[in-house]
């Protein structure tokens, strides 16, 4: 029960301003789409410290009970969320009377999303938010359909067929909205996400070309190893600055 725990960590300082006021080590956008037969997420593996690239191989996608979680924003808070959910999952799985027929996970994506909302909203009410925007992907327990949702640091929840956090909300969403169809197959979904990640790499100074994809489908959950995007520099290499004297041919 991290987040609303009984071990209270620190008493609130007298100056409310001295609570978490900004992220320090940060991850950039997370993107997600539903497709025919699953749901897929993408995130790059860069962590920034200010504008410095602190580490280039950190995963911001995790699996917990057949649900995928991806987070942008403060990485220490993401790690805390990760530990919190792992503890929660174990608690529910080994809970005294935890035995359903089949291997239904104790917490489905929708309930995890809902749980995160409670935690994040609670934290922001304590003026000490978890500085993340979290994408949750997996299955909806009640309907068995695929689920894609988002919780931001204020506890706002959104559910949609496409999802983008951080800069992705500005540069990923237009493409996702334009190209998304409910009957997309997995390859199309992957191509679309890679296109968006590429654009983000081009135009978001905190993004990188090393990314991970992850999917939830009937076959279960898969998180890819980090790999490099292929980028294009056509149309960007030719021009020399204005008013530069040209060498005569």
């Amino acid at each position: 029960m991290w987040g609303m725990n009984h071990h209270h960590r620190s008493s609130a300082p007298a100056d409310p301003k001295s609570h978490t006021t900004r992220p320090i080590v940060t991850g950039a956008s997370v993107l997600g789409v539903k497709y025919n037969g699953g749901v897929m997420l993408a995130a790059d593996t860069l962590l920034s410290y200010g504008s410095m690239a602190k580490t280039m191989n950190a995963s911001r996608l995790m699996e917990i009970d057949q649900t995928l979680i991806g987070a942008s924003g403060e990485y220490s808070d993401f790690q805390a969320i990760q530990e919190m959910l792992e503890a929660k999952s174990l608690q529910m799985q080994s809970g005294l009377l935890q035995e359903r027929e089949g291997d239904e996970p104790p917490m489905t994506a929708r309930s995890m999303w809902n749980y995160l909302r409670v935690v994040m909203y609670h934290r922001r009410n304590k003026m000490n938010p978890l500085w993340n925007s979290v994408v949750v992907a997996g299955k909806d327990g009640a309907t068995g359909e695929f689920f894609l949702g988002n919780v931001d640091r204020l506890g706002t929840t959104v559910e949609d067929n496409i999802m983008a956090t951080g800069f992705g909300a500005y540069m990923g969403v237009p493409l996702l909205r334009e190209k998304w169809r409910p009957d997309m197959d997995e390859g199309e979904a992957r191509a679309l996400l890679e296109d968006c990640m590429k654009v983000l790499y081009y135009r978001d100074c905190r993004a990188a070309s090393r990314i991970q994809l992850a999917k939830v489908s009937a076959d279960g959950v898969l998180i890819s190893e980090p790999y490099e995007l292929e980028t294009s520099w056509a149309g960007s290499t030719d021009y020399i600055p204005l008013n530069t004297p040209l060498a005569l041919p």
Partner: protein, 322 residues
């Protein structure tokens, strides 16, 4: 794109020529007042917090304004690309005044010369005036140099004129421009010019609040040596991305194609994805809401002529012609 409130119809005071910066000092005063108010509120809140009182209003920014009044946020999507046969420029047509849509079909692709057009984002008046000013300078220059063809005017000249002008005003002239066109020296060219006077040349670019949406489309689909039809479609897609994903942009999509030979195809509108007529038509109003002429009977009518001058007193003279 934003519009400051227009002067009242028939106002007698004519503003002095050129740009006017009297608000700069006003804004400075406001800023100072706002900072003081904020400090006071902070101190108050600290006091409250130390005494265990409710500090919730901080989150809501209660008590003092969140920020000083600023010139309204620019809401525009403009974009341009170079293709095999020339340049395509595009723009949305929404003009905003704060959160209001001030004008649903305004023109954002401005004429600069026969061979170049310029998309403008920022304060509407600034983009209008800047492009008009440069247009007249270029026309004078063309006549002065006895240039026979429009395409003899160089794009570089226009970029230099505009960026010098903007730099002189240190960003106070709020015009973010995309200049596209062709000239004999370098063929099809596309430049972006920022309000502070910097300029860059691109194969494809976008500006305005919807630029992120537009550039994402361009980055993912632009390729060298596109055909005209494909190029127009791509710019339309980029502008449409702005129209639908950026709340500051909206309404229609204008397109201007400037071909290598100097021919211009200005499409206004090029796309109307937000045509409201069908929706309005779909609303059936009760026929009782329509009042036919004569519904209200005229019981009585009377004509009272004006008591002062009569028509006969006016002496009409014919206008002189030369």
């Amino acid at each position: 794109m934003s519009e400051f409130t227009r002067p009242m119809e028939g106002a007698t005071e004519i503003p002095p020529a050129g740009f006017n910066f009297e608000n700069v000092s006003r804004n400075a005063r406001l800023m100072e007042a706002w900072t003081n108010a904020k400090e006071q509120a902070e101190a108050m809140r600290k006091h409250h917090a130390q005494h265990g009182m409710d500090v919730a209003p901080m989150m809501a920014g209660g008590g003092y304004p969140n920020h000083m009044p600023l010139a309204k946020k620019t809401g525009t999507t403009i974009a341009g690309i170079v293709f095999k046969g020339g340049v395509v420029l595009g723009a949305d047509t929404r003009a905003t005044n704060g959160d209001e849509v001030a004008e649903k079909n305004c023109r954002k692709i401005h004429y600069v010369a026969d061979n170049m057009y310029c998309c403008g984002a920022g304060t509407a008046a600034d983009t209008d005036q800047t492009t008009a000013l440069v247009a007249s300078q270029l026309e004078l220059l063309r006549m002065d140099l006895h240039l026979p063809h429009a395409t003899s005017l160089r794009m570089k000249t226009a970029v230099t004129r505009i960026s010098r002008l903007l730099f002189r005003y240190q960003g106070h002239v709020s015009a973010a421009l995309i200049l596209g066109g062709v000239d004999k020296a370098e063929g099809a060219q596309l430049y972006s010019i920022h309000p502070h006077g910097s300029s860059m040349r691109f194969a494809y670019t976008a500006m305005g609040s919807g630029s992120l949406a537009a550039i994402s489309v361009l980055e993912s689909a632009w390729e060298p040596d596109m055909e005209e039809a494909d190029a127009v479609t791509l710019v339309q897609r980029a502008i449409t991305a702005g129209i639908f994903n950026d709340l500051g942009s909206g309404s229609n999509c204008d397109i201007c194609v400037i071909k290598n030979d100097g021919a211009v195809d200005y499409q206004r509108p090029s796309l109307t994805p937000n045509n409201t007529a069908p929706f309005r038509a779909a609303i059936t109003r009760s026929s009782r809401m329509d009042m036919k002429p004569g519904t209200t009977p005229i019981l009585d009518s009377k004509f009272v002529p004006h008591k002062g001058a009569t028509l006969a007193d006016v002496t009409v003279t014919e206008m002189e012609v030369s």
